[in-house]
Symmetry: C2
Subunit: 216 residues, 2 copies
């Protein structure tokens, strides 16, 4: 988070400057994602975001209709950021498919380490909090998982075609399994402030990939 000066003038913004003053909105989203990946939704008030981003309350409610709308925007921004990250690793044609997955995991691991294992996954956090969240979040969160799983399944099918994993595997089910458990691993890594849970989980998952399955 670059808490740069970003003077932010009042009054109607000049039309030329890129989008119609998306600076403030983008700053709020960046700050919000950073805070919510660490603390979740329920425990973070708007004022905390505002204080960190140095944005007054009026500006917030100019950019977002409500806290709930802000939450939706954060999920969307995070999902998009993460989908691009997944593609960067999982579509790298120069690398064997299974190795791509390993590299994504290593990248995610490094990301958590960089933040001292304080930040987890925004979607996982809100998923866990679903019982206390506005109902509108549920469909959005489910869709994000479905998207990530689809991208992962495609990579696993590539691995299958490359002969890296057995033809008997159900790649969609494997991708589902991966993301179900991976979110648990991120949870534990946060709790233990350690990469060990990520490593344990990754090792087990690749072990599972090695097993050749006949019966579904």
């Amino acid at each position: 988070m670059s808490t740069m000066p970003a003077p932010r003038r009042r009054g109607r913004p000049p039309r030329n400057s890129a989008e119609p003053r998306q600076d403030t909105r983008a700053l709020l989203v960046r700050t919000g994602v950073a805070v919510l990946t660490e603390k979740g939704y329920s425990s973070v008030g708007i004022d905390e975001i505002l204080r960190l981003a140095q944005v007054p309350k009026g500006s917030f409610y100019h950019c977002f209709e409500s806290r709930e709308a802000f939450g939706h925007a954060l999920i969307a921004a995070y999902a998009d950021y993460f989908a691009r990250k997944l593609d960067r690793w999982l579509l790298d044609a120069a690398t064997p498919p299974l190795q791509r997955l390993r590299r994504f995991i290593a990248d995610a691991r490094q990301g958590m380490q960089r933040h001292g294992f304080a930040r987890g996954c925004l979607v996982g956090n809100l998923g866990q909090e679903m019982g206390a969240l506005p109902a509108s979040f549920r469909a959005q969160l489910e869709a994000v998982f479905a998207d990530w799983q689809a991208r992962t399944a495609a990579c696993l099918r590539a691995a299958q075609q490359a002969g890296e994993i057995g033809a008997g595997h159900d790649c969609a089910a494997l991708a589902q399994f991966f993301w179900i458990g991976w979110e648990g691993a991120v949870l534990r890594a946060k709790l233990q402030r350690s990469a060990a849970p990520l490593d344990v989980y990754a090792q087990g998952f690749f072990q599972l990939l090695k097993s050749s399955i006949i019966k579904q």
Copy 2:
């Protein structure tokens, strides 16, 4: 939750009646566990518990020093309840070890279904929220996972001795893997309001157990 009448008289309680008036405390713990397994810690205020349990605030602060102390009591109660549940299944000598684990999973699955997949795991919930929780919770939550994993590892070792799983497996690591991923599965089951994530995860885990491992 049996919201029985339980009139709860004021004034000094009679000494004979079991423990020195543990009714109110136990009621608060029961209510708290029920609510927090669904909504987590951060989003649940004391007043909500009090309203549900029909207990006035003065009684709460007579039983617990603070909301934080209440949280610790809830974790302890839940961990104890769950450890007994684990033992009931995993130490059942009349059943093959792997079948014991399957039965525990089936029981947990049934438990979630019974509550319409609204309630998850208290320890998982608070673990996810750790970034927003008082620091004192961390060690307690870690210890609970360590305990559950130890009980599970013992069952896996029994399976190993019975020849149900390969001798090459590291049972402690497998148990760790199981609980890391299982919490993720519970999270997803809550999000999707469906048992499917539990089933997908369980199937993958038992598939992993079937694979014989040489290299650790």
